[in-house]
Amino acid sequence: MLALERVGKTYPNGVHALERFSADIRLGEIVAIIGGSGCGKSTLLRAIAGLDRATTGTVTLDHTAITAPHAKIGIIFQEPRLLPWLSVADNIGFGLSELPANVRREKVARALARVGLTDKANAWPRELSGGQAQRVAIARALVPQPEVLLLDEPFSALDAFTRRDLQDHLLDLWNDTRPTLILVTHDVDEAVVLADRVLVMRPRPGRLFEEIKINLARPRDRNSPLFDNFKRRVLTALDRSLDRNVPDADAKSTAGEAMWW
């Protein structure tokens, strides 16, 4: 189980990005974190990943405090971040360097087949489309079989069609080993399609505003009235989270910039 206890973060430049965020996320759960810009979503994710340290509070995974990147926690970024000098296959196998070569090759081959890119094994990342590159990134993060997979707006740079495609694909992959997924997004559709639980955050400083459970069986029909109902609930929560403190434009933009880091 992943336990977030009163996690807070103040950046050295004084931006108070996150305040006392607490949540317990059990193994295999899919949690979407949604909120306006500058509400500390990415900050929270980076703290869980161990890339940044929280200034207050703790992140613990199965009683181990997370202060640095951990073997059981993988992350997928908004951009694929493939290493341009490695072939697609070598990119996927990047996190498996401790394994013997033949085991690694086999795992990579299986992952390639799983994301439907077997024919691209020897291609360079520059030869991939945006959607293909993000699929390679997903495969790279999943191949070491993390218990927790963090996704930081992973599909936001893709076109609507590819995005839907990859959302379904992600669920499919998740079903293989059922890791915990924590997904930061600003796409309500995406949150409702994927998540068991949607955490709505509110900005300045970022904190938990509302928690919405999505009790819908998978696969979910995006056109069903129930789906719409949940979408509306998330949207209203989102609206209320932003309306509470009417933002002045300046503060919003600076806080938003800080989040991109």
Binding site: L83, P84, W124, E127
Partner: protein
């Protein structure tokens, strides 16, 4: 044209039949394209000198006057390409040429090697550790501001007039571009890529080997090529300061004994050697840089 080269295997087979022959032709024609300008200029030069030696018949007076003024008609100060070629052959057959070339090549190789090693190590250190950069970089930058030729008198006093001082001068010339290139490349490695290394918990050495090294490689190759160019520049300066062999010696000797053909011959050989060694670096590193997604690839860098 790189479009045909970069097509993935499946599509390439389709594209092969109609376009292959023209693509292959263009691949071989491309290096030849680079020869067009020097060969054309040489032919023009030859023609002008030849016109000069045949006398003023049939040439308009102003052009003839101009040719005479330039000194082309007898080709004494402006030796035609054939005479330069003859000089080169003469030097080659006496075995002198290989002696001079190997002397110069040895100096460049030794100076380049030392400069690259020092530049790479110091550049890497100050690129990687902020503290080292703060300690080291201002001094190196100040030293860089000194015209390297200014070291010559000191090097002669310290290291003698023989090989050591020459190699030291070349090494100094090579050092700075390599140092700057390596340091700048490390400092500009994409933070996002480094973060990927961090999420996979790479240790320090692994991070250097698997992320930083490949990431700086393209810039490093450029730094090496700039360094090599400066090495060739400084070998002439080094050989001017007193050498009994080497291409620089051929230049000085040609000036003092009034042998312009020998001077131009040495210059031509410099051009050929410089271009060849640069090309060798390019060839040797090309397999390591195939992954690059850059403008240069599309306009035919491969």
């Amino acid at each position: 044209m790189a479009m045909t080269v970069e097509l993935p295997a499946l599509e390439r087979t389709d594209a092969m039949t109609p376009r292959a022959s023209s693509a292959r032709l263009r691949r071989y024609a491309r290096p030849a394209l680079g020869l067009l300008l020097p060969v054309g200029l040489a032919a023009l030069w030859e023609l002008l000198v030849w016109l000069g030696t045949t006398g003023p018949h049939g040439i308009p007076q102003p052009i003839w006057d101009w040719l005479k003024w330039v000194g082309l008609p007898n080709g004494r100060l402006v030796p035609p390409p054939t005479r330069i070629f003859a000089t080169i052959m003469e030097l080659a057959s006496s075995g002198e040429l290989s002696r001079h070339i190997s002397a110069t090549l040895t100096r460049v190789a030794a100076g380049f090697g030392l400069g690259v090693i020092a530049g790479t190590i110091l550049g890497a250190v100050s690129g990687y550790w902020g503290l080292a950069r703060q300690l080291l970089d201002p001094t190196v930058q100040a030293l860089r501001a000194i015209p390297s030729i200014a070291w010559v008198p000191l090097f002669i006093l310290w290291l003698g007039i023989f090989e050591t001082s020459k190699i030291a001068l070349i090494a100094v010339g090579v050092f700075f571009p390599v140092y700057l290139g390596v340091m700048g490349a490390i400092l500009s490695v994409d933070r996002k890529i480094v973060e990927v290394g961090r999420t996979f918990r790479l240790s320090g050495p692994a991070m250097i080997r698997r992320i930083l090294l490949p990431a700086v490689l393209p810039a490093y190759v450029v730094a090496l090529r700039v360094g090599l160019g400066l090495g060739w520049m400084f070998v002439v300066a080094a050989e001017f300061m007193g050498a009994s062999e080497g291409l620089g010696y051929l230049l000085i000797d040609g000036q003092q004994l009034g042998k312009p053909a020998q001077i131009v011959a040495a210059i031509v050989i410099f051009a050929i050697l410089g271009k060849t060694t640069d090309w060798l670096i390019e060839i040797a590193t090309a397999p390591l840089l195939r992954w690059q997604d850059a403008f240069g690839r599309q306009s035919g860098a491969n």
